[in-house]
Amino acid sequence: MDLLLPARSLRMLEGLRLAPRASHPGRIRGERLTRRAGLSIEFADYREYSEGDDLRHLDWNVLARLDSPVMRTYRDEEDLAVHLLLDDSPSMSFGDPTKAQVARELAAALGYTGLLGGDAVTPLRLGRRQPPPPVMRGRAAYGRFVSWLSREPGEEIPGPLSDSVRSFVASKARKGLAIVLSDGLDPEAPAAVRALVGRGHEVWFIQILSDLDLDPDLEGDLRLVDGEGGNAVDITANSHALRLYRENLARHNAALSEAARRGGGRYALFRAGDPIDAFIRDVLRREGWVK
C-alpha cells in the first residue's frame, strides 16, 4: 500500500497530536479534553457542593480541614472534528511536483496525526460533488484515509476556492478544526477563510505555492491565461511587472494569513518541492501545530 509519506516522516509524527488553539465540542467521548466538566481524570477546578452532587467527587481532605464541602470538577474528554479540505481547483495542477500532490502529502501527515490522536478526521476535496466523506478515527483508519486521498478525482472541473469553501460552510459539517490545503490563488480566498471562521471552525491555512507562483521566470510580451478561467492579462514581463506581481502576491498572502490568525487559526506557506520532513519539524512541531 502507498502510504503517501515515507515511514521516516510517519515516525516523526508518532506520539504527536494536533494542537488546536481552542477546544471544540465533540460528539463522542474521545481522548481530547474539553472545557466542559466531565468525567475524565483530568482535574479542572473546585466548586461548592450543591445538593445532588455526586459524592464521589467531594474533596474529603478539604472537608476535613476546612469543614466545608467542596466538589472537585474534571474536564471532559471528547473527540475533535478535523476537516482536511483539499483545494482541487485547476490552479493546484501547476508546478513540479504539482501543488495538488503536495497537498495530498501534507494531508496525509496531518491526517495521520489526527487519526493517531483519536480525532474524527474527515477529508474533503473542495468543489467536487462527492458522497459524504467518511469520518475516520484511529491508526487503523490510515489505510482507508490514504486510499481515499489517492483516489482519482472525477471529470468535473471544480470552481474557485472561495466558492468551494462557501459550499462547505453551508454544509452541516461539525465544527472543529478546518485545515485548508490550498494555493489560495483566489482573490476571494481571505473572505472564504473568514466565512469558515464565522461558521465556528478553527482554520489552519497551509498555502502551497510553486516556483512559478513565487518566482515566475517570465520574459517578453505575454498574454497570461488564467488556469481557472479568469480574465486573461496582457503583460510585458519586465522587472517592473514582476516587481508589481510579487508585491501583489505578498499582499494577498498577508491577507490570507491575517484572516486565518484573526479567527484564532494558523497560517503557513509551503513551497512545493520543499521536503515534507522539514515542514513537520520546523512548522508543525516547532510552532506548536502538533504537540
Binding site: 490552479s91 517570465l218 510580451d221 498574454r223 510585458t236 519586465n238 522587472s239 501583489n248
Partner: protein
C-alpha cells in the same frame, strides 16, 4: 539659417510615421497559462510592438524617439549659418612667399599682411576645423598639416620668412589639393598678389579655391638687365632699368666693379618703359654689380650682379620632349639658364653654350657643347647601326665625366648600337658596344649617350645628377673659383667631399649635407651676398632677382587656375555647420531613451 542637404529633411516624415506606426501596432502576445492572473498588474505599458493596430497612447519613449529622430535628420540636413571668414571646416592656406610679396605698398609688406590674415584665420578656427598651411616659395613646402592646434600653427606661421625668389604657386596649389584629398567642403585659400605664372593643369577637385588678393600696387623700378659684352670698343657693361609703374620715376644707378663704384648716374624712366645705360667695363674685374635707389615698393630687384667669367654662366637649350629628371639635374648647376624647345632653332643654337638632344635625333649645332641622349641622328662622331635590347654595362674608362658615376646595375631598355668614328673616344661600354662616347675639339665638345634617360632607370640612380654635372663641366667648361652669381631661391649643387657650409647675408651659417660628393644649397632665398665654403675653400655667392614677373608688382585681381578664372574675394562666406551639437543631442536623447527602456524592461 540654411541647410546644406535640405533633402534629408524629407526623411523625417516617413521615418516618424514608421516609429508612430510601431506604436500603433498592437502586440501579438504569446499565450502563457498561469495558476491565476489576478495578481498580475492589470495595465502594463507596452514598450514593444509587433502586430495589429491600437490607439496611440502618450509615451515618453515615443517622445524621446521622435526627438532623437528630429535631431538626427536635422543633423544630416546640416544646418548652417553664413558667416564671413577665410577659413572653412577644412582649409589649406597657401601663403605666397615670392619676391613680389615683399612689396611695401601695404605696410609693413604684402607678406606680413598675408601672414596676419593667415593668423586671423587660424585664431578664428572653430573646434573641429582643420587648417593646414603651405608656403608657396621657390620649393613649396607644408608648414603644418591639417590640424587644430592654434598655438603651434601660429608659432610655425610666425617662423616663415619671405623670399626674394619666384614662387611655384601652381605646385603649391596642387600640393594643397592633395592635402585635402577630395574632402567635402574643403577650401584652398590663396593669399597672394597673383604675380606668378598662369597655372595650367590644375584641378582643385571638390575643394573651393578662394583667392585673397594682397597689395594695392605701386611704382616699381627694377634692374632688368645687367651684362658685359666684348665689342669693338672694348668690354662694355650694360645696365637696363624698367619702370613697371604707371608714372615716370627718377632714380640713381650705381655700377660697381669688384665692389668699387665705377659709375653713378641719375636716370628718369618713363611709365612702363625701359632705360639703358652703358659704360666701358673696367678690365680685370670679376664681378660687376648694379644698384638703384628708386624708393619704390620692392627692394629685391634694385640690385643685380654678373660675373665676368664666361664659364660662370651656362645657357643650355634642351631639345626634345619634357624630361623632368633631366631638367632637375641641369638646374642643379647654378650656372645654368635653361631653355626648352621642341626643335633646334634655325641658327643651330648659336646663342647657347650647350644644346641637349634628349630622345630626338641629334643635329649639327652651333653651340660649343652638345649632349646627345639616345639618338645620334646626323652627328658626325658617332655612327648608328641598330638597336641593342637591354644591354648590360660592362666597364668605363677613367674620365672626368665618369668620376663618381657607377653604371653597374642600371637597367637600359633600348640603346643604340653605335661605333665611334675618328677621334671620338669611348668612355663607357656594354657587352655589345659603346654606351658613352666623347669628342673634344678646340671650342667644341660633344658627348653622346647611347640611351635616352627615359628609356632606363638611370635618372633614378644617384649617379645621374653627378653625370650631368660632370657633362656640363666637360661641355661648358669647369667653373672658375670666382664669385658665383645665382638666381635667388633656386637650389643648386656644388661638389664637396668633406664639409660644406654657407654663410647668409645676415651672418648666419648653415652646414650643408653632402650626398655622393654633392652639397645642395637651398639657402640663397634672398638677394644678397653669401659665402660658400667647401672643403675649406670659400667662394662668394651672389643671389640676385631678375624676374619681370616678380618685378611687375601690380596685384592681379583675377587668376587663371587651370581652365577657370578665380576672382579675388575680400572675405568669403563661410557656412558654419551645426550638425555636431545635433549629433550630441541625438546621442543624449537616445541614451535617455535607452535608460528609460532598460528601466522598464
Amino acid at each position: 539659417m540654411s541647410f546644406a542637404r535640405p533633402d534629408f529633411l524629407l526623411l523625417f516624415l516617413p521615418l516618424a510615421a514608421i516609429i508612430i506606426a510601431l506604436y500603433l501596432l498592437r502586440m501579438r502576445r504569446k499565450n502563457f497559462m498561469v495558476p491565476a492572473t489576478f495578481l498580475w498588474p492589470a495595465k502594463t505599458e507596452e514598450i514593444r510592438a509587433n502586430a495589429l493596430f491600437q490607439r496611440l497612447k502618450p509615451s515618453w519613449l515615443l517622445f524621446l524617439q521622435l526627438l532623437a529622430l528630429t535631431a538626427i535628420v536635422a543633423g544630416f540636413a546640416r544646418p548652417q549659418f553664413a558667416q564671413r571668414g577665410l577659413a572653412g571646416e577644412t582649409t589649406v592656406i597657401v601663403l605666397d612667399s615670392s619676391a613680389s610679396m615683399g612689396a611695401t605698398d601695404v605696410l609693413p609688406s604684402r607678406f606680413s599682411d598675408a601672414k596676419a590674415l593667415a593668423r586671423e584665420a587660424i585664431q578664428a578656427a572653430r573646434p573641429g576645423d582643420q587648417i593646414a598651411l603651405i608656403e608657396a616659395g621657390p620649393v613649396p613646402r607644408v608648414i603644418f598639416p591639417l590640424g587644430n592646434d592654434a598655438a603651434r600653427q601660429t608659432s610655425a606661421l610666425d617662423a616663415i620668412k619671405g623670399t626674394d625668389a619666384e614662387a611655384d604657386v601652381g605646385e603649391a596649389l596642387r600640393l594643397a589639393s592633395a592635402v585635402v584629398a577630395n574632402r567635402d567642403g574643403a577650401r584652398l585659400v590663396l593669399l597672394s598678389d597673383g604675380d606668378f605664372e598662369p597655372i595650367k593643369d590644375f584641378s582643385a577637385g571638390k575643394a573651393a579655391v578662394v583667392y585673397r588678393k594682397i597689395g594695392i600696387g605701386g611704382t616699381n623700378i627694377a634692374i632688368e638687365a645687367l651684362g658685359v659684352s666684348d665689342t669693338t670698343r672694348g668690354r662694355q657693361l650694360y645696365a637696363g632699368l624698367k619702370n613697371y609703374g604707371g608714372q615716370p620715376w627718377e632714380t640713381s644707378l650705381s655700377l660697381y666693379a669688384d665692389g668699387k663704384v665705377v659709375d653713378s648716374v641719375r636716370l628718369k624712366v618713363a611709365a612702363h618703359s625701359t632705360v639703358g645705360h652703358t659704360i666701358a667695363a673696367p678690365a680685370g674685374a670679376r664681378l660687376y654689380e648694379a644698384k638703384i635707389d628708386p624708393q619704390d615698393v620692392l627692394k629685391a630687384d634694385d640690385y643685380a650682379a654678373i660675373s665676368s667669367d664666361p664659364t660662370a654662366s651656362l645657357r643650355v637649350l634642351m631639345v626634345g620632349k619634357p624630361d623632368p629628371f633631366l631638367e632637375r639635374a641641369l638646374a642643379l648647376d647654378p650656372r645654368v639658364t635653361l631653355d626648352k624647345a621642341a626643335e633646334l632653332p634655325p641658327d643651330g643654337g648659336s646663342t647657347y653654350d650647350v644644346v641637349v638632344f634628349d630622345g630626338v635625333p641629334a643635329q649639327p649645332t652651333a653651340s660649343r657643347g652638345t649632349l646627345i641622349l639616345g639618338d645620334a641622328g646626323t652627328s658626325n662622331f658617332v655612327a648608328a647601326s641598330g638597336v641593342d635590347k637591354s644591354p648590360k654595362f660592362l666597364r668605363s674608362e677613367t674620365s672626368p665625366i665618369m668620376k663618381g658615376v657607377d653604371l653597374n646595375g642600371v637597367f637600359i631598355d633600348n640603346a643604340q648600337r653605335v661605333t665611334a668614328s675618328g677621334d671620338a673616344e669611348v668612355i663607357a661600354r656594354s657587352a655589345t658596344g659603346p654606351l658613352i662616347i666623347v669628342q673634344s675639339k678646340p671650342n667644341r665638345r660633344q658627348l653622346y649617350v647611347a640611351f635616352s634617360p627615359l628609356e632606363s632607370d638611370f635618372p633614378l640612380q644617384v649617379a645621374f645628377p653627378i653625370f650631368i654635372a660632370n657633362a656640363l663641366d666637360f661641355l661648358g667648361g669647369t667653373a672658375g673659383n670666382g664669385p658665383l652669381v645665382v638666381a635667388s631661391g633656386r637650389p643648386f649643387a656644388t661638389p664637396a667631399q668633406k664639409a660644406a657650409s654657407i654663410q647668409t647675408p645676415d651672418g648666419g651659417k648653415t652646414d650643408l649635407a653632402i650626398v655622393n660628393g654633392l652639397a645642395t644649397v637651398r639657402e640663397t632665398r634672398n638677394v644678397g651676398n653669401y659665402t660658400l665654403t667647401t672643403d675649406g675653400k670659400s667662394r662668394p655667392v651672389v643671389a640676385t632677382l631678375r624676374s619681370p614677373r616678380e618685378s611687375d608688382v601690380a596685384p592681379v585681381a583675377q587668376l587663371a587656375l587651370g581652365n577657370r578664372a578665380v576672382k579675388s574675394t575680400q572675405s568669403p562666406l563661410r557656412f558654419a555647420d551645426y550638425w555636431r551639437p545635433l549629433a550630441v543631442l541625438a546621442l543624449l536623447v537616445l541614451a535617455g531613451e535607452w535608460w528609460l527602456f532598460a528601466r522598464r524592461s
